[in-house]
Amino acid sequence: MIEFFEYMWATRAEVLRHTVEHIGLVGVSTILAVAVGVPLGVVITRRARLRGPVLGVANVFQTIPSLAMFGFLIPLPFIGGIGARSAIVALVVYALLPIVRNTYTGITEVDAAVRDAAVGMGMTDREILRLVELPLAFPVMIAGIRVATVIGVGIATIAAAIGAGGLGVFIFQGVSRVDHLTILAGAIPAALMALILDGGLHLVERRLDWRRKRT
């Protein structure tokens, strides 16, 4: 234990750098996954025929081994190559399912009477979405984003396999050196980051839950 802290202190500059890289990878990929996943989740509440294919594809995406995905991404222009871009694309692909699914579930779980009242008072579809469905679905959507983020912190360690840095660097180095301390220098900050993000997003989820709001 003391040995571990000594090691962490000795390598603090690297630990900090890779932690920042890791946060960057998770942050950018989660934001992109939300930017793609939420609209997709909304679209499949409007077009029932797309629901099966969209959820199916998002599901299959999650089962693609990361190295296979990287191999596929390396030759692609714009989104591929080696480095952060491919890693972020892979992380986005892995994060989509919980975000799309929870957006869809959150919206479809809105009380039918509430939706009926919204239509009956003359809201357009866009107004219903913006004023009624999204605010009511928000806690469920945030829960999906939370899952995606926490999983993302773990998965982002594979970014090191394609030269994108992050805490995975310690894990890959540690495995090749057969050195547990190095592995832990990556694994422990990643675990802490996952816990902190989970707790933080849980607070956001509670804050934005209309059922708890009092003014």
Binding site: V119, G120, W210
Partner: protein
């Protein structure tokens, strides 16, 4: 002149006839009660008025214009709508719920706020309730908010689908009385769906009795009270 009229309107769903052909009109400023058991087609008739459903044949006229010629959104914003489960937006406080249609219509904030205050007074809701969420209100308060919301943009027509159905008898009687006075005072045209004969008699200027999609009886309250139609007289037993 009639505010709403049904002209040989029928509606079928999945090839099954649900309503009609129905011909019926509601004079401006009057309350028509659509009375019938569940499955009689009364809710269907109501939803044809604000284009939530589209007739299979025939035409519904609202304010002298065919519903199919109205822009559905514009039509719905000129017609107040109240349903049994109230359908208050659970994430919006009372003030925002009442002010939602004015907001959609693009009213200025100050004008909306003024209107909300007036409606709270009209519906005898305490000002302190303005910032409460619906789940913090009693059933009767929720329903008053529902009425206030339907009246917010001062629509000439109100559509009510058993709005008081879930209330306890006491609150219900109180609200019926107030509602009757309110719509008379504001000269609203009201289509009111209920399965409760007493409610029909309390609220209606006119009564239309629907049975399995067909119009069994239509007339003024007096005509309803005196009708020798066996179906009507059987219903009067409940009074």
């Amino acid at each position: 002149m009639s505010a709403v009229s049904f002209e040989a309107v029928s509606f079928s769903y999945n090839g099954k006839a649900v309503l009609g052909p129905l011909s019926l009109s509601v004079p401006a400023g009057q309350t028509l009660v659509l009375l019938g058991q569940s499955g009689s087609g009364k809710t269907t008739a109501l939803r044809l008025v604000n284009a939530m459903l589209v007739p299979t044949s025939g035409d519904v006229m609202v304010l002298g214009k065919r519903v199919k010629e109205w822009n559905p959104v514009a039509l719905r914003r000129s017609v107040g709508y109240m349903i049994q489960d109230v359908g208050l937006f659970p994430h919006m406080n009372v003030e925002r719920n009442i002010g939602i249609v004015p907001q959609l219509l693009g009213w200025e904030t100050a004008r909306t706020a003024e209107r909300v205050r007036a409606l709270l007074g009209l519906l005898r809701l305490d000002r302190s309730l303005a910032t409460r969420l619906p789940h913090e209100l009693s059933g009767g308060q929720r329903q008053r908010v529902g009425v206030a919301r339907a009246l917010a943009a001062d629509p000439p027509i109100l559509l009510c689908d058993e709005p008081f159905g879930a209330l306890d008898p006491f609150t219900r009687a109180e609200l019926q009385l107030e509602f009757r006075q309110l719509v008379a005072e504001l000269e609203k045209t009201v289509l009111f769906v209920t399965h409760d004969v007493r409610e029909a008699v309390h609220l209606g200027d006119r009564v239309a009795l629907l049975d399995r999609g067909a119009l069994e009886f239509s007339g003024t309250l007096d005509e309803f009270q005196q009708s020798t139609d066996p179906a009507v007289s059987a219903l009067r037993e409940y009074l």
